[in-house]
Symmetry: D2
Subunit: 398 residues, 4 copies
């Protein structure tokens, strides 16, 4: 009988829900070295928590995050709050001796991220994890394997675009459009994922950001009472006398970069790509092969094997659900081609974190704070490049 792992979760919004679901289900599907127990959920609104907690099976709830992270029963603190509070909470949890998981991006600012990375480095016996959930899509984890086995050879191109369209002019001034709460817009929200995926799949680091655009297409949005809420993609409709407020984050950030192995890479994150709801897309081309991925068809990896006889070469759509054939994570789920969905990436990550905490190997490497710091440096470099209108070396972002 495995030892229990007591988990405390900070945050009960969208990510609070995906993490709760992950902890609820992970032990149903995976064989784990520790038994996850849902100890405490913590957020600001006690009334909401009284519903949310029992619904998801949390043993207790609290509105006082400091006492939660100090609770000696808790083994893992999971920070799923807005970016601007990651630092304080994560460092407090580290100082209380806990293992810490944190939502992405690591932090809202480079300074905060650095502090977190340093705090983690000072406590090498405590594990840290960052929820770059797309690494846990079987297709992405499998793409990484192909690169690692040399199946793509020398890499020439990475082409990433994370495209959403809920940010049209009718969308009101949600908290996600306000820099003081969100840190950044599409950049921190979406490019963070793409940068992490590029690093994860290629196994390479970024060396330079060469050009960048930081764009706010819609400069003012309607102030509405519910604007603190979640993404809805729905307009406010419109009375005659709207109150308008200033948008203080980007709608879109594009940049060009170079990787350590010499590949040229392009990135685009936007909330105004009409028709694309959650199109997290990446294409990587090497001397011997290439891969393509689009999250809206997350169960599929497109693979081009340039070492096959020429007449037989083509883009092959692999349904990455074959547990018996070794597709990552697939053995835990359903039979071949009984596909999985968005939340499974979170369950897969919960499984890998618990394996690491129990001394086992994860199915694919999980980013710790040091790893996520590398992604944060690239995010920062892209912003500086857009601001200075000149290339930025990653080596200069420290």
């Amino acid at each position: 009988m495995p030892q229990p792992l007591q988990i405390a979760l900070l945050g009960s919004k969208f990510m609070g829900r995906t993490h709760s679901n992950a902890y609820l289900n992970v032990a149903k599907f995976f064989k784990l070295p520790l038994e996850p127990e849902m100890h405490t959920i913590c957020a600001r609104d006690a009334e909401d928590l009284a519903v949310f907690g029992p619904r998801w099976g949390w043993a207790g709830f609290s509105t006082d995050w400091k006492s939660v992270v100090d609770n000696p029963d808790v083994g893992l603190v999971d920070v799923a709050t807005p970016n601007h509070v990651h630092k304080e909470q994560a460092i407090a949890a580290l100082e209380a001796g806990k293992h810490v998981a944190c939502e992405k991006p690591l932090a809202g600012t480079l300074d905060e991220a650095r502090a977190m990375k340093d705090a983690a480095a000072a406590r090498p016996d405590q594990h840290t994890f960052v929820w770059f959930n797309y690494r846990r899509c079987p297709a992405i984890a499998y793409a990484r394997q192909l690169v690692k086995e040399g199946r793509l050879g020398r890499l020439f191109h990475v082409r990433a675009a994370y495209l959403q369209d809920w940010g049209g002019p009718d969308t009101p001034l949600l908290w996600r459009f306000q820099g003081d709460q969100a840190g950044s817009g599409a950049h921190g929200d979406l490019n963070a994922h793409s940068i992490d995926m590029a690093r994860f799949v290629t196994g390479e680091e970024f060396t330079d950001v060469i050009g960048a655009v930081n764009e706010t297409f819609i400069e003012e949005r309607e102030i509405v009472d519910s604007a603190g809420g979640e993404i809805s993609g729905r307009g406010a409709g419109g009375g005659g006398d709207k109150r308008m407020g200033k948008v203080t984050v980007d709608d879109a950030v594009l940049f060009l970069a170079r990787l350590s192995g010499g590949a040229v890479a392009s990135f685009e994150a936007t909330r105004l790509s009409t028709g694309d709801k959650n199109r997290n897309r990446i294409e990587i081309h090497g001397e011997k092969g290439a891969i393509r991925f689009d999250f809206e068809r997350m169960n599929e990896l497109e693979w081009y094997d340039a070492t096959l006889p020429g007449a037989e070469q083509g883009w092959s759509t692999i349904n990455v659900t074959r547990g018996g054939d070794g597709h990552p994570y697939a053995a835990a789920w359903w039979p071949d081609a009984h596909i999985i969905g968005y939340e499974h990436g979170f369950v897969n990550q919960a499984a890998d974190m618990i394996k690491v905490l129990g001394g086992e190997e994860p199915e694919a490497p999980i980013p710790d704070f040091a790893d996520a710091w590398e992604t944060q440096r690239v995010l920062e470099a892209a912003l500086r490049c857009a601001d200075k209108r000149a290339p930025v070396s990653i080596a200069d972002v420290t």
Copy 2:
């Protein structure tokens, strides 16, 4: 606070797992009129149950299904056992006054199905449900809405194919290849789904089966000790002195049919369609529009609107995940294009069953035993047609 609904589940194999998962998760995502409680899991192997039960959160477990269906605390009995025991268990549960859910197909034989339908008809105050889970794919439920709203007009063609490929010559003599246990092969397993989907989406009934082929390509398979197990798709490898046993079910059944509105329909179910793992595909063409669906991309419905200006007409790929826009079931899950997977169909069905039991409307109609009887008649008609080598009127299958 909603009243509890105590559930007992018979069966702990593949379907036992999907149903357990559904009951575990349904109240996390749906607002329900009754609170589902996982009362008892029942199967033959006590040792397995001692692991399975707690893992999935069942309060108790039992190897005596008769005592379970008689337990006065239980409100809903869910029959997820092999087809040849459906009748006995479902009727016993009905006689004990329970609501009954049953896996598809309704039964292994027409006689058994008729008995079940009649037993249900005799107890109009008890609800019956059949787990035709593909009705709960948002894309299929949405397709039904389009037909119902007249968007396709008069229907001309239904083209259904449920294609798998795990039944190659290297696959051993699993229980699924043995008629006494499985009832039929691809026909009952796969065509049952396709027939139900065709009836559900079109809102029409079958009138005739016009031609049919019932085919067993691989007549003998290797006898192996684990052959009672689940589908693996893996060959047995092969020593020199295999023991071979006779296959007593079909590998593939194809048939042509007519629907009550005049449409011509074709069906194909097979386990030897190399490259197709779980390709449950249906295409329906009407005077004003058409739809296409492939379960391997279950979040997508292809829709052709022939009333648009000609130059703008095309097959449109709708990502059926937009809760705010009314896509069925989508509001319960994640934001737009954060896709769902195979098991969500079961969770959606659990939600709809609980709504019905609590006096609410389901998001889409659930088949009861009378409804599933209609599907069973078509299954039977196809077999008779293949056997007699002549058309069979559904009216003659009673």
Copy 3:
């Protein structure tokens, strides 16, 4: 300098145009053993011919087909007239000692087809050809190669559907809806192609038609003056007092069949598959591999290699345009992925016919009258099966 081949073409409608284009262009792209010369175009309307002939480069034109086929200068007579005159013209040309090419299907009736086949057999030194143009799609010719090389292994399934949608209720009573002129409807027009493709790619013959539906959904259509014209897909619009006439051909024919190697096959041809303009689709599944083709993406062959390691298996989209890698016909055209279109199949066939007449090997076998007779027998068997409502052995169609 190659010897000239003098060609006479009978017919100047849709097929007259595609054949003229083929003869005009073939020597620009292919190296040929004979030099094709466009000697005479022959049709009924002299006024039309006076425009059509010079436009396409025909040296002369005539309204008297008998004198044309008797002209001693002519080496190849190409019959592109309606089905019901194929027999008379083709046999006259054979009797005049000419090589004969004929549009598909071979004839409007079995009797006529038999007479043509026998006439050809009596003159073994004269070549006959039938324009089953889809054999000349590089993707189809390449699929045949894969089967021939054993890459699919034993075949289990053929699934063909040729789907069009121009036959809605608003389409008037064109000649194509009149049995005396057209012979049959979708069956002879579309299933003829599918049957030929299935025979060509698999290398097998049909043994039985097991079930069939012969359907006329729209029994009456408006009589309009221009109804002798070509397919337009456009309705007649509609005044109050339309004159309606009876449709005497099928709108759709579906059938189930068996091939000589044991595969089960299904066929569907229809003019009422809304959304499908020219969707000539075929899927073939064998023990080791499978192929899929859809003419609307004619440059692509989907190929599944079930002998690859399981994790790498997927449906691969091969762009069949790589001349340097041996894709059939591709070397004659443009660089890789500079795709070709509908008419190229005709140019490819013209090249292959001229090669045969010049003593060279064609890139892929061309059906002669004996070969097209086999297709005609299957067409006939399907009609008899639908009519008798009982299986028909091909051996009985003689």
Copy 4:
């Protein structure tokens, strides 16, 4: 009877072949105000011309381009020679009073392009045309119509990538890798098309290039005797003592830009995108709708109409072959979904040029030298931006 238009073509390589084919076929398919006559083909190798000329139907051939452009019978001079001779030939033809068509890009250098543009401006009665053939793909011309009719609304994003993969390390030092002959690599060859397409479809001009990368991945290639030849995509194989030569053009150029209406745009041209043979791809997103195009499926335009009811929105694949419904150029060709190929874009352009010369409207605007000059400025700005590592305003490129 239309007046004749005597045409002289300079160049007999790949583009000489596509233009010859266009002139040969254009009057077969289009109704034209002038009758094109293939007067003279001109190139350097008389022996080749003696084959090429008669093959394609040129009345005469010559190795002396100066006498050809001076020939008083010639009405249109078509320059399909390498970029570095465009200027001299085009200006000579203009000075001789001819209408001039020229292959893209307008010239190898900005200075040459400016001289050509000025020479054309000085002779307003003579027409100039540039062969940006992708404008003549029906899908692209139709996309332009949608933008023009306001169906996309305010534009936010343009995302263009022209991806090929024939430039791997085994490809020898063809003329296309030598700056003195080719001018540039993928940039002038491929980005020129993408820039023109973006300008054409959006109807906007570029204002700034914000960041750019100019990359030569393979710095040395093998010198082979046949290296002056066409693209083959085939390696040289390899003995031990290869002679290597320096590559003096780019393998890939990526850049970020802004359009006059505020949209942000990204461009990528490369010869090392493994798996992409001729993937000329563009995506444009506006407030009300979006389009996607990929030349490898050139008959299809993907269209997203964001003004439809939310539940019905999806990416619609329009088969842009419906002449009766007004798809550009489609009426000239075959019935619906009888698709066309690469060379048809050239035939379509020939038709439009002849219409303009005959005083009629083209189906879509053709770029003249002044228009192509705008594309050349953007090409130049991207190179300067990559070189200076700083943004470049198009206004400064004069």
